[in-house]
Amino acid sequence: MSITYLDAIREAQARALRDDPRVFIYGQDVGAFGGAFKATKNLAREFPGRVLDAPISEDAIVGLAVGAAIEGMRPIIEMQFADFSTTGFNQIVNQAATLYWRTNVPCPITLRLPVGGTSGSGPFHSQCMEAVYAHYPGLIVLTPATVEDAYSMLLEAVALDDPVIFCEHKLLYRHLKAEQLPGEALPVGRARIAREGRDLTMVAYSAMVHEALEAARELSAEGWEIEVVDLRSVKPLDTDTVVASVARTGRLLCVGEAWPWGGVTAEIVSRVSSEGYGLLDAPPQRLNARDTPVPYHPNLWAAHRPTARSVAAAARNLLRQ
């Protein structure tokens, strides 16, 4: 058997629905149709009345989830694309994210956001919004990079008592495969050493973990041993694991698919420079997408985001310093 990242997301939802009567799914076309990406395929049939099509009303969709959470439910909301969460933005950052702090009543909702670029998707079906949500207090932001994490972290997201922004990378949906669903898993909040090395630490998350790993393989042919840290969760950030890695390697390259101003790579570099002062043998580096909307044409798209090639090139530069 082989299970894709997308299967894992579907299976996690099926299990959540099965194990917990408080769980329901709400989002555009998630019902009989099974979702734009088929992440809820057959769930409406398996769990009648608990997987419901929503109107094209992101604001009201999130608002409804918050109300249901107040009433003790654990809604899973599918945004058709992360990019469309902007029209539900207010309810996410001002309603869901503030409820617990204001009232002491927890807000256990999971917002599934299909993120990231795929070739030909263009400016409005490609965005990575983790940095925007992580900036707001009251939200947990997860960015699984593997089939196993897609499964275990989604289950954990649903079980958590807080609003979780669950960023699923569309490029990984069908492309990434595993033999089986995981039994045990690292908990949310802990980063993972995806590859061990001693010459340089690459910090990445979501689809960029795979570009980093490929770059590391490429560089290993040149004799370099690259350590790759998969953040898994961008809020909270597991700074300890990153700093410990940098302590071993002395070099830091942070890779993100989001835009360059601010974001995860800035936060990581900033924390390592501060908390890991003196550990670095060379300037910390970042590699992000370019500071423009995500382009449509494959040539432009491939040049807009970091790739194994550009990650390897940046790492080579850094290793030379």
């Binding site: 009201a60 608002g63 009251g138």
Partner: protein, 344 residues
């Protein structure tokens, strides 16, 4: 037979008296509480704003009184009366305004941004229209849990009808046929903006048909009419007849907040029937119907003043929140909270 009719009439009359008196008392309480809070604010003993309900008590109290325990209520800025009628304590209001650590918002949020979600009173966020879909969510959850017979009410102003949130939520409720009662207080202004710059339909109740919900229009200055119309709307929602849109016409008899002298309000409106003070109208009706006499009302007034004075005095003695004791944490999952921020 005749006897039964007379009895029914009598008991109807008694019921009418009782509800009017109860309503009037809450309206008065709301009015005096507002006045007191405004005075505290003017004395510089409170930060932020004070938002008054003057002129809107009849409508608001009707919502609070029409709801039962177990129902859900999302009041907005001008619902002091409805809150009290729904069961919110004076202390909750005063504590939230003064930021008492003992209040439901613990000084973290203030003034009208208060509630007890677990008791069905949703604490508004400021963004207009945003609470309606939250009420939908509670009702939706109840349906999923097979809890029936409860109703959700959300109050907004004329200005809030222009928000996307209002539209999405009312449509959502209509599609789901939720027992939502959406009450619009068309008080002729949104802050300083007159309705002519806010919408172009003849009457906001005209919106109902476009959502496929039942619309109700009511004179918001007339307590009797409000009790009847809101009561009917709530009953219909409870009956499973889907969302109800109630639009009350009235005039805000104060500024947007106590900081605003409302100099922009058209004097003609103040002279018009919209400009009647619903509290006075209700009082006159009570006296006219002889449901109570002036001395009784005066006694109640004294009682109300005392209650309020006592609450304010009590809260003023209560501890303010202590930043050092405060748990600076926005998520409930303690071990996932990031503690890297500095102390100030």
């Amino acid at each position: 037979m005749l006897q039964t009719v007379i009895e029914a009439k009598q008991s109807n009359a008694a019921a009418a008296r009782d509800i009017h008196l109860a309503a009037w008392r809450f309206m008065l309480l709301a009015r005096m509480l507002d006045d007191k809070l405004a005075a505290v604010w003017r004395a510089g003993k409170m930060h932020g704003g004070v938002f008054l309900s003057r002129g809107q008590e009849a409508l608001s109290v009707s919502v609070g009184l029409s709801l039962n325990k177990g129902d859900v209520f999302a009041p907005l800025i001008r619902d002091a009366a409805g809150r009290l009628a729904f069961g919110e304590s004076i202390l909750d209001a005063v504590r939230t305004y003064l930021g008492s650590a003992l209040g439901p918002m613990r000084g973290r949020d203030g003034n009208v941004h208060r509630g007890r979600p677990r008791e069905g009173l949703l604490p508004m966020i400021s963004h207009l229209g945003a609470m309606i879909s939250v009420v939908n969510g509670v009702l939706f959850a109840r349906r999923l849990k097979n809890v029936s017979g409860t109703v959700g009410a959300a109050c907004v102003g004329d200005g809030a009808t222009s928000t996307g949130a209002f539209h999405e939520a009312l449509n959502q409720a209509a599609v789901e046929k939720l027992p939502l009662v959406l009450v619009v207080a068309d008080n002729q202004y949104a802050y300083s903006t007159p309705t002519s710059r806010q919408f172009a339909c003849a009457h906001l109740a005209d919106k109902a048909q476009g959502y496929g919900v039942q619309g109700h229009a009511v004179d918001g200055t007339d307590l009797t009419a409000c009790l009847k119309t809101v009561g009917q709307a709530v009953a219909r929602a409870r009956d499973g007849r889907g969302p109800q849109l109630v639009v009350a016409s009235l005039l805000r008899l104060c500024g947007h907040g106590e900081h605003d002298d409302a100099g922009y309000v058209d004097p003609k409106l103040k002279q018009s029937p919209l400009g009647r003070d619903c509290l006075k109208v209700a009082e006159e009706k009570i006296l006219r119907e002889k449901w109570a006499d002036a001395s009784q009302l005066a006694a109640w007034r004294e009682e109300v003043v005392r209650e309020i004075e006592e609450s304010v005095a009590q809260v003023q003695r209560e501890p303010a929140p202590d930043p050092f004791a405060e748990e600076w944490r926005a998520i409930s999952t303690g071990h996932l909270s990031e503690g890297h921020e500095a102390e100030h």
